[in-house]
Amino acid sequence: MGLLLLILALGVATCSALLDSVDRKPSGTPAVQRAGSGP
């Protein structure tokens, strides 16, 4: 149970940080819109 919670919390936090870093342009401009996420 404890390990599952830890995996959930750290998994969500670290993976979203990784995705956000990869999506950003080198200039530091906001993240590129992913397909289907725009209006």
């Binding site: 599952l4 080198p26 530091g28």
Partner: protein, 277 residues
């Protein structure tokens, strides 16, 4: 073999720290990407989160090593600093920073930090608290020596309690719980009147050690095979153990040292016959 099992059981939790080194690995890549992109502000978040989580892993490692040594009686006291609590804080902070780097709003980042803290507590447990041993002064008694003896004896009772938790037969668990409860009363009695340490020297130096070895050995063999004669033998041994502990306590109160030593000799002989001692 008994010592190996005991040591294995004490050291196994140390391996759990691997989680705090492996789970943040995506942050390594994120931090590298942020560095190569020149995003210093973001690198502060991802790098900070990585630093917090790996530091939490290192602090947890030293906490669990110290805890294993404490449970094995290799150190007299648990760590003075609440290492696990510090590590919990670092884990929550690291998770919060990583969530913020991931674009989560602060309420969501706070929730993730709280979940990480909760997970840490459930997975690694609390810091062990040292039992305060306060031996009353008595003329002609070496208080430091009695305190050391009591620390060792409390460690042995703890060893019996740990082994009892691994025994699946509820009846044996209950008997062992009663036995350790009486053991605690005996030690409290010695704490109150340290002159009792001399009267109970065989209990402290020989019998308690034998009782721990018997219980750990049974917990080990019981996992491997269910053997009716072995169970009956162990049951009888526990009955004898409980009555001796009880007699020990009563006779300590009565200061009847001679009869106490005789009873311990009888039980010690029985332990030897059973091949446990």
């Amino acid at each position: 073999v008994v010592d190996l099992v005991r040591q294995g059981r004490a050291w196994a939790p140390v391996a759990k720290t691997a989680a705090l080194f492996l789970l943040p690995l995506p942050l390594c890549i994120a931090a590298l990407v942020d560095l190569t992109h020149g995003n210093v502000a973001r690198f502060a978040l991802t790098g900070g989160a990585l630093g917090c989580l790996w530091t939490a892993g290192a602090v947890s490692f030293s906490a669990l090593v110290a805890e294993a040594r404490y449970f094995l009686g290799q150190r007299a006291d648990p760590p003075r600093l609440p290492l696990k609590l510090m590590s919990l804080g670092l884990t929550a902070l690291g998770a919060g920073l990583a969530a913020t780097a991931g674009g989560h709003a602060w309420p969501s980042a706070l929730l993730i930090a709280a979940l990480a803290g909760l997970g840490y507590r459930a997975f690694y447990g609390r810091d062990p608290t040292a039992r305060r041993i306060a031996v009353n002064a008595a003329e002609g008694v070496d208080i430091a020596a009695v305190t050391a003896q009591l620390k060792q004896a409390f460690g042995r009772l703890q060893g019996i309690e740990q082994a009892a938790a691994a025994i699946a037969v509820p009846e044996f668990g209950q008997r062992l719980k009663r036995i350790t409860a009486i053991g605690h009363q005996i030690l409290a009695e010695i704490e109150r009147d340290p002159r009792d340490a001399a009267r109970a020297r065989k209990f402290l130096n020989v019998y308690l050690d034998g009782a721990e070895k018997v219980t750990v050995e049974y917990a080990r063999t019981h996992r491997q095979l269910r053997n009716r004669p072995l169970e009956n033998n162990f049951r009888q041994l526990l009955v004898d153990m409980e009555s001796t502990f009880d007699a020990q306590h009563r006779k300590l109160l009565e200061h009847d040292a001679l009869a106490l030593d005789v009873e311990i000799e009888v039980l010690n002989a029985r332990l030897k016959r059973e091949g446990f001692n």
